[in-house]
Symmetry: C2
């Protein structure tokens, strides 16, 4: 089976859980509609898939950790809704449809994002029935750190500051992107390992795989913004429109950017050198597939 | 010692923890400033105090549950920042100072709120060192439900819908306020009991105390908006300005509103009838103090 077909199979598993996850909870109708509009708008569900695969590869049952894995999609979705707001990136379109606030209004979009972020932690707690509570608390700490003020939200704050500033350095760009998009991808891998009760060494490998894949993913995204490509892997429509931003190609050129991405993918593959089985093979192919999007 | 003095002592304990809680975490300077501006703007810290008192009354060490208790203030603060945004209530002032977005801009205010909500769950996880993980997961599920789409955020969505609608009934008003402001107060009491490892019966008592106190608190707030009073207990400045909203006095008049508040306080006191000791006494006085604000 090709990596795309196997990814599609994992994506479908996540999709199926997401679809019913907000129903029968007593959520006011208007709020539920706004939350589901963005949560169920498609996408490859890369973060939940990474969390699931690491958990399975390291011995957990996929069904047991599925709610926790889906919490990553709740958090990713909330961040897209808030990023699109007029006060932020002011994007009218997202994944080929009007963005959340264009359909439901700004106030409801703010609330839908807030609600998805909060409900994400409810999903994590839900895993307490099948996964030892110590693992949940550890993984929750990891995810809160990655999504929080020194992680994803902090990266967005830095991005705002850098957009207004001339002369952003490569190191600043790397740091900002590691927080803004890398932290959640990294946490997805690390939480999968933590939920499986893996050794500290295996958790460290998962984290480094996530860091390397996250960095490669972002560089390739920057490159694709320049060279253009329809074969996007979970790349949100609309992100192309942010002009005048410092990117890898704008700082070091296309060739050196792709070299850097290749080195990150090689690092990622090294992290999995001692892992075997179906998930390890898929994760290796997935890391490689990031580069194939450009070629 | 009077109830006000004892409340001030608990408030100081919470304040002291909040003050250092965001430092040394690698948060970008601008974001940290915006978060602390609202988090450290004063207030009675009613929710953390309730959580602490229930935990202590039922056998936990206050120090062990302090980070979890403070998570309630993070969540309360984020909700105030987002509620004040131009797209929401559009309030320029909060607690006697310019609201967050007036000082830091809308984008940063949205991010500061998002970050406080996320970091709240980090604080909860932090208690895992001192409190059994099963209790953390249970209390976290309680808090996520109370703050989420069928709780506080849902209540805010209903409030928006009702503001645009004529003929809101007493039952609708009660439901909306139970979600918007009651749910978090209720969860503070319930989580305190859950963190202490209390029996299901004691957890139920804590929840009913919180529901009754939360309902009384909101009714008295509505009454104070009409009769005016400087002796506000944790009442955010600026909330008076929401005109044309359906309130208890507008639906059933001042006298019947106060009768209702008194009945809720009596219910609250009943929940604690078998509890003894310093915290039980304080909680009873605190419930009674809600009514004293008007007289």
């Amino acid at each position: 089976m090709t990596v795309k077909n196997r990814l599609a199979r994992y994506t479908a598993e996540v999709e199926s859980y997401l679809r019913g996850s907000l129903r029968s909870k007593g959520i006011p109708a208007g709020l539920l509609e706004a939350m589901e509009y963005s949560l169920l708008a498609g996408g490859k569900r890369l973060r939940p898939v990474l969390c699931l695969c690491f958990a399975k590869m390291l011995g957990a049952s996929a069904g047991d950790v599925l709610p926790f894995a889906c919490a990553f999609e709740y958090i990713h979705t909330y961040s897209l809704i808030h990023d699109d707001l007029p006060a932020m990136d002011d994007d009218d379109m997202r994944r080929g449809r009007p963005s959340n606030h264009k359909v439901f209004g700004e106030a409801m979009a703010i609330l839908a994002g807030d609600a998805l972020l909060t409900e994400a932690f409810g999903l994590m707690a839900k895993c307490g029935q099948a996964v030892p509570a110590e693992r949940i608390v550890a993984a929750m700490a990891t995810l809160a750190r990655a999504a929080g003020a020194a992680g994803m939200v902090g990266g967005q704050a830095l991005d705002m500051a850098y957009t207004a500033k001339a002369g952003v350095t490569l190191e600043e760009l790397r740091e900002m992107q590691a927080q803004k998009t890398g932290a959640l991808i990294t946490a997805a891998c690390q939480c999968g390992a933590e939920l499986a009760g893996a050794s500290a060494e295996a958790v460290g490998c998962a984290r480094r795989f996530g860091q390397a894949v996250g960095a490669a993913f972002q560089i390739v995204d920057d490159v694709l913004d320049v060279v253009g490509d329809a074969k996007t892997l979970g790349k949100p429509v609309g992100s192309d429109e942010q002009q005048g931003k410092t990117t890898y190609p704008s700082l070091i050129g296309l060739d050196r950017s792709m070299d850097l991405a290749r080195r990150h993918v090689a690092q990622a593959l090294e992290c999995l050198s001692s892992n075997t089985g179906e998930e390890a093979e898929f994760l290796r192919d997935l890391a490689q597939y990031i580069l194939d999007r450009v070629s």
